[in-house]
Structures are given as C-alpha cells and as structure tokens.
Symmetry: C2
Subunit: 403 residues, 2 copies
C-alpha cells in the first residue's frame, strides 16, 4: 500500500461538478489500495474575488487580515471535497492548516513552512480516512493564519509528502505536464516525460506557471518524486525527480517566460561599500522578493543599479526605495511595469560554449532589445519589453530546436 499526496488546483475544483469529478478520481486512487492525502486550492477565481472585496473596504488591506480572509477560500473547497467524498460513501475529513499542523513564520502573504506536525494527519490516515487539507494556508506560533503566496498549495502538498514520507506527490493541474515552452505561445512546444528538480526549479522561477518554485526546492531537498499531470484526463504527466546529468548536461531543456515583471533602476549612485545592502535590506524586511539584479561597472565613482520585482509589488517597492534613493544620493530613480522575462533553461548550459551567444543573436535577429541580462549555471535570462515576450519565446524555441 502506497501513501500518495495529491494536489488539485483552483480550476480543477472551480464548480460543484468538477469537485465531484475530482472526488471520483480520489476514490479510484483510494480503491486501488493507497492511503491518500489531498491538498486543494480555492475554487476558481475565489482568491481574486476576495482580494477585490477587501479593496472595497480598504484600498491597502492589512496583510494579517488579508491572509485570514484569503485562507477562507481553501477552507471552503476542502470542506466541499470532504463532503463530496463522504456523499460517495467514503470516510473523509477536511483539515485546515492549523489542524494539519502546517507551522510557518509570520511573514504574511508569503509565509514559509517551518515544520509540519503530522500527528493529526497520521491519526486520520490510520483511521482509514481520506484526508483533505486546505492548501496555501499556514499557522504561526501565535495561531495567526498565514498564506504561502500565490501557488502555495503546491508547497503545502510537497511539505505534507515530506512529513509523511509519501511515496509520491501528484500535482493535478489544468495542463498535461511540463512543456519546453508555454504551448499557448509556442504551438510546437512539446511535453517532457521527466525533468530534473534543478531544471524544473529554473523553469518555475522563471515564470513557467506549472509549479510553485518553493515546492520544487522542497521536493529536491527531501527527494520526493513529483508528478505533474492533468486533472481532466488520464494521460501520464511529467515526473520531476533526480535525473542523471550525464546525458542531459549542456542541453537547452526549455524556454520559460514571465509577463509579471516590474523594473526599478537607481541611476548615478555614488559607489561605496554597503550600497547593495542599503537598497535590498529594506525590501527584504518588507517581504518583497527581488528577482534579477544588475549593477554596472563603476564609472567616475558612480554606478547604476537595476533590479526587478513582481509587478504587483512595484508600487510598494517604490514607496520603500524613494527615501533610500535620496539617502544614497542617486541621481535618478526610474521604474517601469512594462517588462517581461525570457529564459533559456538547461543543466550546464552556462559552461556550454555558444549558448549565450546564440541566445543574444536570436533575439537580435527577432528585433528584440535586451534590457537586462543575468545568468546562472543552468539558465540565461533576458529582460525585454513585455509585448516582445511571445516573439522572443517562439524564436528561442525554434533556435534551440525544441520545436
């Protein structure tokens, strides 16, 4: 008997009919002789609707209050799933994050899981029940409710799989698996049967919406195999696991992109030790993740420092950076919410000769201006105009023979 953790996203539980259809899928897994824990997201667009509601009473809702508000979306869907399963004659119980022992720090809106106390999860499983856990939520030491950030239900699922030493974690979503690029942008994109944690992590962090990056990190750290598959059919999906690098090194595995990018530039800043810290420390304290960071070489004692944040964080980031820019005597402070990010991903590509050059040449041929560049061992990322992203992804997909 295997222990399987399944996660169903918002579109898979968007209506009562879909909840019943997912419930039948869960029953099939249970009837095959497995123990099953299911993590669910909020129904459809619930989270967006709750955010809209909150903005009707306060333009900038308090983060603690917002987290408690948003957590209700997942509580609703997990109780409905448990009811549906009980209605089909199966023992099932829904657990909120507090009940399931998902303990986090108190960084509202993007809390991180500190530990999972699996006592109650175990007790319910031992009693033969299908356990439905509200995704996305956590609880602090003070019993305050947190949320894990967009897509956090993936992290909930993998964290529970780790805590219970599950045999597998299935992420059911509205796509068939992980593709070499977004199929909506590139019609020739093809599905991968397997991918390494590292490559998936880069794909996820670089804007492939399939998996929440932290869930992939967690899966890698504890060696939990993760299967990404569609909740609408029975096709095999993409298995994220430890892939031997021998054969896959130095190959472009996919093209990722992200349309949700805001850019901030500090121009003409007198260079001195501690400059970066004085800029990024206040952002970190406010819980704003900085993505791409580029600092130019210093000319005549002054430098330019640019970085990107999630587009939604841009206004808040600017409010924090404005006084900082004055303090560090920056000549100019610029921002733009009109950026996009395109990345070429594959293990070892940085050390493979010519991949960076090929990337830049391809974008040049497509008439696309590269605003910022950053590379890691396994990816090359370019910040470009948002409206050029689709063309860039198509061009790179063809260039690296992924079509």
């Amino acid at each position: 008997m295997a222990l399987i953790v399944q996660k169903y996203g918002g579109s898979s539980v968007a209506t009562a009919e879909r909840i019943l259809s997912v419930a039948r899928r869960i029953v099939a897994t249970k009837d095959a002789g497995n123990s099953v824990v299911v993590v669910v997201s909020a129904m459809g667009k619930t989270t967006d609707e709750l955010i809209r509601l909150s903005q009707q009473v306060a333009p900038e809702p308090d983060e603690r209050e917002l987290d408690l508000l948003l957590s209700t979306g997942e509580t609703v869907s997990c109780t409905l799933m448990a009811m549906a399963l009980r209605g089909m004659g199966h023992e099932a119980v829904s657990l909120t994050a507090g009940q399931a022992g998902i303990h986090t720090d108190s960084f509202y809106g993007r809390a991180r899981i500190k530990s999972v106390d699996s006592t109650r999860l175990r007790r319910e499983l031992d009693a033969g029940k299908i356990v439905i856990v509200a995704g996305f939520q956590g609880i602090t030491d003070e019993f305050d409710v947190t949320t894990l950030g967009r897509g956090g239900s993936d992290t909930t699922a993998v964290a529970i799989a780790v805590a219970l030493k599950a045999d597998r974690c299935d992420i059911f979503t509205d796509v068939d698996g992980v593709y070499t690029a977004d199929p909506r942008l590139v019609s020739q994109a093809s599905k991968l049967d397997e991918i390494s944690y590292q490559d998936m992590l880069e794909m996820a962090q670089l804007g492939s919406k399939v998996m929440h990056p932290r869930s992939v990190e967690l899966g890698e750290a504890y060696g939990v195999p993760i299967m990404v598959r569609s909740s609408f059919n029975d096709e095999p999906g993409t298995l994220i696991h430890e892939v031997s690098r021998m054969e896959t090194r130095s190959r472009v595995r996919g093209i990722a992109h992200d349309l949700n990018v805001g850019k901030i530039a500090l121009v003409g800043v007198p260079d001195r030790p501690g400059l970066a810290a004085s800029v990024f420390q206040p952002l970190a304290e406010a819980g704003i993740s900085v993505d791409v960071i580029v600092q130019n070489v210093t000319v005549e004692g002054a430098t330019d420092l640019s970085f990107t944040v999630a587009r939604g964080d841009l206004p808040k980031a600017m409010r924090i950076i404005e006084p900082v820019a004055q303090r560090i005597a920056a000549k100019q402070l610029l921002s733009s919410d009109n950026q996009g990010k395109v990345s070429v991903v594959g293990a070892g590509i940085q050390s493979a000769p010519g991949i960076a050059a090929t990337t830049f040449q391809a974008l040049y041929e497509a008439g696309i201006n590269i605003e910022m560049i950053t590379t890691s061992e396994i990816r090359i990322t370019c910040i470009v105009d948002r409206e050029k992203v689709q063309v860039a992804v198509q061009k790179l997909h063809a260039t690296f023979e992924l079509d």
Copy 2:
C-alpha cells in the same frame, strides 16, 4: 472608560458600504473613550449560499464539514471589518473563535460554549486595539471548528461580554428593538423600552427572531445588560435586564410566533414506563431539539405522543423515529411540516385567571383550530396551521390590548 461588546448581524454587514458604515459607528464608540469588542455575523445571505453550495456536492453534508464550511462566512466579515477600521486609521485585529478562545462541546451545528479563554482578547484590548471576533463559531478540544446554530453570534457576543465583565452588550440588528409582536404581522405592535430576561427568553424561544434564546439565558445567568437596537439609526432600543416583577406580573407582554415548525405524531402507542425516553433519547443524541411535547391520557393501554421540531430537522428526525416507532409498536407515525406556533407571553400569566381561556376563545372566534397546547408559568403556546399564524397573532395582539 467602559468596556462595550457590540454585535452586528448579517444584514448590517451585507455589503462593503454597510461594513464601512458600521465601522464608523464602532469608531464613534471607541472615540467616546470606550474599549470595544465587536462580534460580526456573516455578510447577508452568505450562510444560505454556503449551504446551497454544500448541497450541490452532497445532498446531506456531513455536520463537521458543514460547520467548518459555514464558519468561513464569519471569518470573511470579521477580517473585512478589521481592514475597514485600519483603513480609517484605527488599530484593529480580527480573531476567529479559535483565536478568541471560544471553546465549545463538539455538537456540530448547535455547539454550546463551555468556556471563553480571554487571554488573547485581553492582550489585544490592552494594546489599545478594537477587537473584531467572528461570531457563530467555536472550537472543540480537538481544534475542530463548530457553529453555535442560527443566530449564534448573539451568544458569542454575550459570552464574550460575560468573560470580559463588559459593562454592556449591544446587539445591533435590522429592527429597532423588541416589539409586542412582529410588526410585519401586526401593524399596531409597539416597541418595548425594557423587558426582563425571562420575558425576552420566552419571546425568543417562541419565535421572535430578535435574539438567540441562549444569549438571553447567558445574559440572565451572569447579569449582563443587553441592549437591542438598530444598526441603521440612533434610536434607543430595548434594554433586556432584570426588571422588578412587582408591577409587570400577570400582564401579557407580547405575542410571539414561529413559522418554522415540523410536527411528528406517534399514534396508538402501547403505554409503558420509559416510552418518552425511548423516543426522545435518540433525538437528543442526534442533536435534534424537541420543542412542544404533548402526550394524551392513556385509553385502553394506548396513548398518542406528539411533538414539534424545527422544520429543517424534520426529515432527519423522521429517519430516527421510524425504527423507534416500530420498536415501540406505534399504530401510526404521522408528520407534517405545515405547522406554526403562536404564543402569549408574560410573567405570571399562567396563574392569572382567564388568560388561557381568553386565548383559546380568541382563536376560536378567528376560526383557528388549535392542534396542540402547551403552557409554562409565563406563556401559553398553541400549534396551529402555518397559514393561520398571522391572523392568530393579530387577533391575540388586539385581544390583549397590545395594539
């Protein structure tokens, strides 16, 4: 500085605009130098919508799951209220029942408060915050979420007032106070400036929707004055407190009614010791409250036993009673969901000569058949056809010169 607990019902927080309007009212109370704890119900028809949603996935949703589902309605409204207050520049924090320490038994759907651990409430109040508590919810020793039954937010408010030794508990609702009868049925009904706990309790238990009966019991037990008033104007409401009985004895104070009545009759049951227990014990175990009970005198060793339950409980009650009826060899088992209840209420009226006779005569004159009768020291209750309830209330209101 007084400590005031305020409770706002669902219609008072039905929209973002109303939440903002209630928030201004709360701020006025706080600015007058008071400490304020606010209990809120779910927005408008949220609870009904959640019940409808649950029935789409399971015709008879599990009670534990349903309670967790329904509790989200109050969590949403309490976070929105806290956000609205913070948006107005006031420190405020929302607390779920678990966070506010509202401990109950595990009778889902109608849990009773066992204790209120006010540690966190006190801490937030001491920090100068306005504390918003989700009404209607409780938490068991196992951290499972319960609900207190329809109207349970009143009980939450009074229980918190008791635990914090509040100076007053204000129940804001969509009516101006307690009337001698439902003003929608009797246009001559008049508002009472004050009423005793006992009279209010009877009015509440007999279907006056103004207050949840258990909240009145609780207020009486601990001597918390309760003010019922409108959230839409500043009119003084009705103060429920200990009223000297000297002057008010033997007077009809009001006419209450309830349209939400289901009737079950066991006909031709062989009478034997323990008969009532064998019928009512299984209902109690299932958490079904039985209201009026009538047992006829035994004729030739057989008796008829009739009782009423809330109309919504009728199908469940019948499923429980059917095997019981067989076991106790009842000749017939009848049920009807087409009943209503009309009650004449006032301290000491049972001992006042003629009030019962006057009641029955008045209903006879109005052409209304009385199906069951039950009396207490302070009320006379008649079960009649539901469609006759309005006429009955009007007739009795006029008969006892309440017009």
